[in-house]
Symmetry: C2
Subunit: 282 residues, 2 copies
């Protein structure tokens, strides 16, 4: 079992990873992309790194956390399941078990389409590598929220027929031949017998199944037990959420959306997680 | 008038100074010494500065804040007086006026001696350069809390006779000839007519006046209006204290006493101070 899984590899996640390593926890950081920091052109107020750009800062922070012994994997976490005194974490095709969790997902907000969450596991899937095989030789709709979806759609197109819808603008240059790119805005999902119906701004599309491939998962899907208010996760002064053993840090806690604040909160969350794990072991 | 005076030049103070400069405030940082960071041998969990020692980190942070336009002065702040929509700040012989204050004094706790605060300004002084002249040709007791007191006591010895008592162990090698070093533990002050009485563990000492020269001032003396609980200043989520316009960040807010946390809180306090000042001008 892993001591601590940190979801998110930005300022808050890297800072938490360093402090957790210092407290001698074994640490896995799962991150889906480079987030807001990866897009920052210049940060002027981060103490210790004058006039740094986002990608450079990310590189420095990840390198430092890795040098301290934290493991980083680029995998989208789809589900965190509280299991008594531990957590099961589903990421891609892998299942991890951890004693504590730090949510450091940043600002990536996901607004599920109407019908999407209700039909999850009944025709709608978030994971091409997990569920693609069920649609061998069939027709699949892909609702794509970012560039990461291109590779997954290409994989699905080896199994069956794929229609690709763009939810948020991204580069689709790498899409495999044979994938049908439909330039309509996806609006909602319905079920019709064994088939999935996707309504767009221009009509309706019918298929055997649908994959929603975004670079992030809605918190209501990831860990619905965690309470939030106005889009910000609710925490106590130790940054523990409403779920014991689950902590949160950084932009996911709300304004100000700033690198130094995220770093400070990652530090606090890791110390709290270490205390929590120590208390568990008695 | 200065927009923002930050009291303390460690992690929290420097971080606050950088963010405040970014928000275009003019910023004066008043600091009495190098605090806890100045003594740290190695910090392993500060994102961006791997395996840094305290003095090096302090140098990097101050340099960066100065490069952004913050002014640093080494002066012990003795008093902050709320004056309606601004604050008067007494430091050494200088009086400043500021729109907002950030308290980032670190962990330096001061326990005044019995009688000390009651007799302040009536025989007890915290400032040799301010009040020394009143004791020309007279006998002064110095209660010294750190090495900084040596130079001030030397100055007093040019004016009159000085007896030097050590409250906390420090290097007294630089004490001027003629200063009487009395190796007794100072315990309490009393007044006897025009004279000051200092009781020690070994007896009583009588003089015309007393100087208490510590590297820090008790919060009850500095800004008694600020509420605290168990030694930590009470703040809201924007890190504003019970006094509107006075914010706090870093170790002064309590555990964990960590550089990344202090940096994060300095960032938040500066943003809150900027909002507060903007609303005032509103």
């Amino acid at each position: 079992m892993i001591d601590l899984i940190i979801i998110g590899g930005g300022c808050a996640g890297c800072s938490a990873a360093m402090t957790a390593r210092q407290r001698n926890l074994n640490v896995l950081v799962l991150y889906a992309g480079d987030g807001a920091l990866g897009k920052a052109r210049r940060i002027d107020n981060y103490p210790g790194l004058p006039e740094v750009n986002g990608p450079d800062m990310l590189k420095v922070l990840r390198g430092q956390a890795e040098a301290l012994g934290a493991e980083f994997k680029r995998q989208l976490v789809q589900k965190v399941l509280p299991m008594g005194n531990s957590f099961s974490v589903l990421a891609g095709n892998d299942l991890y078990e951890a004693g504590a969790i730090i949510l450091a997902l940043g600002t990536s907000r996901v607004n599920p389409l109407p019908g999407e969450e209700e039909l999850l596991g009944q025709g709608v899937s978030y994971c091409a590598t997990c569920d693609g095989m069920f649609y061998r030789g069939k027709h699949m709709l892909v609702v794509a929220g970012g560039e990461e979806a291109v590779e997954e759609a290409n994989y699905l197109s080896e199994l069956g027929r794929v229609s690709y819808f763009i939810e948020k603008p991204h580069n689709t240059a790498g899409l495999a031949e044979g994938i049908e790119l439909i330039k309509e805005k996806p609006l909602s999902f319905e079920q019709d017998g064994q088939e999935m119906l996707l309504t767009t701004n221009a009509g309706r599309h019918r298929a055997d199944g649908a994959f929603v491939l975004r670079p992030a998962v809605a918190m209501t899907q990831l860990l619905p037990e965690v309470q939030a208010e106005k889009g910000a996760i609710i925490v106590d002064k130790d940054l523990m959420t409403s779920v014991p053993g689950v902590f949160a840090a950084g932009d996911i806690l709300g304004a100000p959306l700033q690198a130094p604040k995220a770093v400070g909160e990652g530090n606090i969350a890791a110390i709290s997680a270490a205390s929590y794990l120590r208390a568990l072991k008695g």
